[in-house]
Symmetry: C2
Subunit: 592 residues, 2 copies
C-alpha cells in the first residue's frame, strides 16, 4: 500500500515538470518552437547586449524615479510622469495569488530615468527618440534619453525585458543603446469607409506605443463618409457622416491627439482632395465638379472631384484647413491628391474654360497641370498660416509633375509613395519611383509594400518584414531623403469588429523594419521574438491575432474582458490534477 501511495505521489510530482520538458521540443509547427523567447524586445534595439544573468523584481518594492534636469523639465515631466505610472503597471502581470516571493534573490530595486535635453510639448519629425538603458548586475538600472520621447521608447523596452518564471518577474543584465533607423514610422487608419469609434482608435494608439510607432496618420474622411465635425462647416459631417453618431466631435479629436501625444505619437490628419470628396458634396455640392454625361458619376448628383476653377473652393479649403491646423497639433497635414478622375473634369464646361484661360491643354498632361495647380495653391494657403504648416501628398502629385513639368511642389512637401506599380503614369514599381522622388530632392515615405488591408491566408508578416524602404538604387543622399513609411489599413472591410486583430501583430513587422537596423532581415530568426511580442500584446489587452498554431500563457478571454490569467488557477489546477489522478487510479484498479 505504502509503495502504491509513493508511486502515486511520485507520478503526480513528475507530472508538472515532466510535462514542460516533454512538450518543449515536441512541436508540430514552427510557431510552438517560438515559445522559447523570454524577455526579448520588439522592435529589436540598435545595439543590445544581453546576458544570462537574471535578476528578480519585487512588484511591491520596485520603484521608478526621475531626475530633474534640463530647462524645459515641465514639458518633460508632463509626458514622463504619467508614462512612468503607466509602465510601472505594465511591468507586473502575474496575478497576486500566483506570485512567488523574491526575497533571497538578486533583486533589481529601482530604475532611474534621466532626460538631459530639451523637451517639447508635442513630438515632431525631428524629435530625438534615442536612449540608453542599462540593467546592471547590482545597483539601479538606468535609462537616459535626450527627450521625454526617448525616455518613452526606453520605458517600453525596459518593460519588454521583464519575463515570467515560476511565479516571479525577472529580467536579465542587459545594456542597450538605441535609436530608430527612420524618424517617420506610421500606421494609417481609414475612418471614412467605416466609422471607427474612439475607443478603438485609442486601443490602436496603445498598440502603436508598444511597437514604437510614432505617427498615426488619420485618413478621416473620403467618398463614403465625412465623420469630422467641423465648427466652420457643420454640414460637412451634418450631411456627410454616415449617421450623426458616427462623427468625431472636437472633443473626440482632442482626446485622441492628447492620448497620442502622451505616447510620443504624432497625429497627422488627412483631408484628401481634389479626389475622394463625394461625402463633402452632400453638404456642399458647389465644392465639387458636375460630371456630364451623368454616366461618368452614377450617383444622383453626378459630382466628381473638387471644382478647382472656383475661388470659392480655395476659400473653403483655406478656412477648413485653418480649423484643422488648430484642432490637430502637428506641423504636417496630409493633403491626399490620389486617384483623381480626370474624365469628370474633362466633361465640365467651367473646368474646360478655366483650363483654356490657364493655357492647360485638353490632354492628360493638361489635367496633371490642373491638379498640380490646385495642390500648389493649397500648399501656398498652408504657408500663410501663422503656425508653420507643411504638406504630405500621395505620389500622384509628384507623378503629375513629371508629366506636366509645371507647378513644382514645394520641396518641404513629403511624397507618400503608395502604389506598387503606378500603372496610370509610367508603370514603374515603387523601387523605381523612390529614386525619382528623392533625386528630385523630395523626402519620401513608403507604404506600397505595407497595405495591411490586403489580407491573405497564413503567415503573412514575413513579407512585410522583408520590405525595406532603402531597397532601391540610389546614392546616400537619396537614401537619406527616405524618412520612413506607414502601414495603411484601408477600411472597406474593416471596422471596430475586426480592426485591432487585422492590424496586429502584422503592423509589428513594419514597426521593426522602420526602427531596427537594416541587417535584421531574417523573419524566421525573428519569429520567436514576434511570438513573444504577440502574446505580450494580448496580455496587455490588445487583440493581436495569432500567427500559427500555438498558445500564450495568457490567452484573450472575454469573461473578464481581459486576458486569461493562468496563475489564478495554479493551485486549483494542482488540486484538480490530484483528484483526476486519484479518480483515474480508482477507475483503473476498479475495472481491473
Amino acid at each position: 500500500m505504502k509503495l502504491w501511495v509513493c508511486c502515486v505521489l511520485f507520478v503526480f510530482a513528475c507530472q508538472s515538470s515532466f510535462a514542460d520538458w516533454v512538450r518543449q521540443p515536441f512541436w508540430y509547427d514552427d510557431a510552438r518552437r517560438d515559445k522559447v523567447a523570454k524577455g526579448t524586445v520588439w522592435p529589436q534595439p540598435k545595439n543590445i547586449q544581453t546576458t544570462t544573468q537574471s535578476l528578480s523584481l519585487d512588484p511591491e518594492g520596485f520603484s521608478v524615479v526621475t531626475s530633474d534636469s534640463a530647462a524645459n523639465s515641465a514639458d518633460c515631466k508632463d509626458v514622463l510622469d504619467p508614462a512612468i505610472e503607466r509602465y510601472r503597471g505594465l511591468l507586473f502581470w502575474i496575478p497576486a495569488d500566483a506570485r512567488v516571493s523574491v526575497s533571497g534573490d538578486s533583486v533589481l530595486g529601482r530604475l532611474r530615468v534621466t532626460t538631459s535635453g530639451t523637451c517639447t510639448k508635442y513630438p515632431n519629425l525631428d524629435s530625438d527618440e534615442s536612449y540608453t538603458l542599462t540593467v546592471p548586475a547590482s545597483g539601479d538600472a538606468t535609462l537616459s534619453a535626450q527627450t521625454a520621447w526617448g525616455a518613452l521608447r526606453g520605458l517600453e523596452t525596459f518593460s519588454q525585458l521583464v519575463y515570467e518564471v515560476d511565479g516571479k518577474h525577472k529580467l536579465n543584465v542587459t545594456t542597450i543603446d538605441d535609436e530608430p533607423r527612420f524618424p517617420h514610422r506610421g500606421v494609417m487608419l481609414d475612418t471614412a469607409r467605416h466609422f471607427i469609434a474612439v475607443p478603438y482608435i485609442i486601443q490602436n494608439l496603445d498598440a502603436m506605443a508598444y511597437n514604437k510607432i510614432n505617427v498615426f496618420h488619420w485618413h478621416m474622411v473620403d467618398d463614403q463618409s465625412f465623420p469630422f465635425q467641423s465648427a466652420t462647416y457643420p454640414d460637412l459631417s451634418g450631411k456627410g457622416a454616415y449617421t450623426q453618431d458616427n462623427v468625431y466631435s472636437p472633443e473626440d479629436v482632442r482626446s485622441v491627439v492628447e492620448y497620442a501625444r502622451m505616447r510620443g505619437i504624432r497625429v497627422i490628419p488627412e483631408f484628401d482632395s481634389p479626389g475622394h470628396m463625394q461625402s463633402w458634396g452632400q453638404g456642399h455640392p458647389d465644392l465639387l465638379t458636375s460630371c456630364s454625361p451623368t454616366s461618368i458619376q452614377q450617383d444622383i448628383y453626378h459630382l466628381g472631384p473638387a471644382n478647382v476653377a472656383r475661388n470659392s473652393t480655395y476659400d473653403f479649403m483655406q478656412r477648413l484647413f485653418q480649423e484643422i491646423r488648430e484642432v490637430f497639433a502637428d506641423e504636417y497635414l496630409h493633403l491626399g491628391g490620389d486617384e483623381v478622375h480626370f474624365q469628370c473634369w474633362m466633361s465640365n464646361d467651367e473646368i474646360q474654360q478655366f483650363m483654356q484661360q490657364q493655357g492647360f491643354p485638353n490632354t492628360t498632361e493638361g489635367f496633371a497641370k490642373l491638379e498640380g495647380y490646385y495642390i500648389h495653391r493649397l500648399i501656398n494657403i498652408l504657408k500663410e498660416f501663422p503656425k508653420r504648416t507643411r504638406g504630405i501628398v500621395w505620389q500622384e502629385i509628384f507623378d503629375n509633375n513629371i508629366i506636366s513639368g509645371d507647378f513644382t511642389i514645394d520641396l518641404d512637401t513629403i511624397i507618400h509613395v503608395w502604389q506598387w506599380n503606378n500603372s496610370n503614369f509610367q508603370g514603374i514599381q515603387y523601387w523605381d519611383e523612390l529614386p525619382q522622388v528623392t533625386a528630385a530632392g523630395y523626402r519620401a515615405i513608403l507604404s506600397s509594400c505595407w497595405y495591411l488591408n490586403f489580407i491573405d491566408y497564413g503567415r503573412d508578416w514575413p513579407k512585410y518584414y522583408e520590405c525595406d524602404p532603402h531597397n532601391f538604387t540610389g546614392n546616400a543622399q537619396q537614401k537619406e531623403l527616405v524618412i520612413g513609411g506607414e502601414a495603411p489599413l484601408w477600411a472597406e472591410w474593416v471596422d471596430a469588429t475586426n480592426v485591432v486583430a487585422r492590424l496586429w501583430p502584422r503592423a509589428s513587422a513594419v514597426a521593426e523594419r522602420l526602427w531596427s537596423p537594416q541587417n535584421l532581415r531574417d523573419a524566421t530568426a525573428a519569429s520567436p521574438r514576434m511570438e513573444e511580442h504577440r502574446c505580450r500584446m494580448v496580455r496587455r489587452g490588445i487583440r493581436a491575432q495569432p500567427q500559427g498554431p500555438s498558445y500564450c500563457k495568457y490567452e484573450w478571454n472575454q469573461a473578464n474582458n481581459v486576458p486569461t490569467t493562468s496563475g489564478a488557477q495554479g493551485i486549483m489546477g494542482y488540486v484538480q490534477q490530484l483528484l483526476l489522478l486519484f479518480s483515474s487510479l480508482v477507475l483503473t484498479f476498479g475495472l481491473w
Copy 2:
C-alpha cells in the same frame, strides 16, 4: 431678423429628413445601397409572402404566449419557455429614451406559439424544424410548429421581421411557411490548433442560432493540443493540453452542450484518429506508432498515427469513446480518419508484422485496408454501446474503400466530403466525389467549398453562397443522400482574438445555402438582406465583420461592450446640430 430666424429654423428642420433622402441613392458602393432592407429574414424562408402593411409593437405591452399541447409538453416547455424569454428580449432594441409611443397605431399585441407534435430533450438529425408563422392585419400573430425546434426557428424568424422606423419597432403583415432544405447544417470549430475559451464557443452558438445553424461540430483535439479533460485518461489533457488552463473540464463541456441544446443545436464532437494524434502521444506514447527512421517524424518521440496493431489501442479507444458518448448527448461521433501518414506505418516492424498476419500487401492499397480495418473496428465498438451511436468520417475512409475494396464501412456512417480535389486518391473534384459516395449508398455532408479558414481580401461570401451541395450529376435518390454540410473554421490562424469576426457573417452565406430553397442563387440580390442581417448580428452582440463600405445604425462599440445605440444620443444630437448651426451662422456673419 424674423426672416433670418425662419430661415434658420427651416434649414434646421430640413437637415434630418433631407439628409436621409439625399443619402439614400448616393452610394459609392453596392454595400451602402444594401441599406434599404428592413425586416428581411436570413436565411430566407421556403415560402414567405410579405406586404407593405406595417404594424407597431409596444415593448411594454407585447406578449408571447404558448399553448400547452402534445404529450411531451414538459420537453417542449423546457426549451420553449427560456427561448420565448430570450426572444422577447431580442425583439426590442431601441433605447428607452429614443422610443416613440405607438398609441394610435395598428399594434400587434401578441404572438401565440403552439407545438403540436412530440418534443425530444435533444435535437437530432431527424428533428422536425418546420413552422408556420402568420402576422395578420389584426389579431394575434401565430407561430405553429411540430416541435420546440421548429418553434425556435420560427421565433428567430419572427424576431427578424421586426425593424425600426422613427423610434418605433414595427413589422409587416406576413405569412411564412418554412422548413429547412437540409437537416444537417453545421459550423465546425477547431479548438486544438488554438484553445478557444468557452465564452467564445458560446458566442458562436448564439450566432449559429441567429442563422438557424443546427450542428456544432467540435473538432476538439488534434496534433497540437488535447484540451478535452477525460476522467478516464487524465494524462490526455494533463500532458497534451497547451497549458492546464487551456482545457475543457467536464463542466465546460456540459455547459456547451446544454447551451446548444436550448438553441436546437446538436454538438458533435470529433476525436480524430488514426492520424492527427500527436498530442495524445504526450501522455500515452504507446497509443501511437514509432516511426523509423526518425526523419519521418521530427519530434523527439518520432510518433506517428495510432498503433492499430495493438489490442490495447482499441481498448483505449473503447473506454475513451464510452466516456465521450456519455458527456456529449448526440447519437453521432465524428471519428476523423483524414490525412494518415502511411510512411510511418510502413517503417514500423510491429505494423508490418500485423499487416502480414492480416494479409494486407505492403502497398498503398494495403495501408488503405489497414486504416479501413481500424475504422471498421472502431465503428463496431460504437455499435456495442448501450446508447445508439453512429459515426461520421472524413472522405478518406470512403476513398480508402475504393482502393482496397475491403472493410466496407457501415452504411449508417456519414461521409464528410472535405477535399476540393482528392489528389492523394483519384484526383477528382468534390462534385465527382459526391456521386460516388451517394451511389455507394452513403449519406454525405459537404465542406469542400466552405473552408472559411481560407481568407481572402474583399467580398468573399458570394462564393460560399453559390456553392450548392446538389451541384453534381446524380439521380434523386443520390441527391436525397446528401443531408447537408458544414463550414469548417480550422484554427491555425484563429483564436479568441478573431474567431467570431472571421466566422461571421461569412458562415451566414453557408447557413442560407443549407436552409433556403435551391433557386435562391443570386448573391447580389441577397446582398441587402445580408447587410441587414450582419448589422442585426452586431446589434445582438456578435462581432460580425463588415462586407463593404457601409454603416450600421448600431455599430460595435466597446465602451459598453454592446453595440452603439444611436437613439440615446438622438435628442443630444439635435441640440448639438442646433448649436453647430448657430455657431456657424455667427462665424459666417461675424466674418462677413
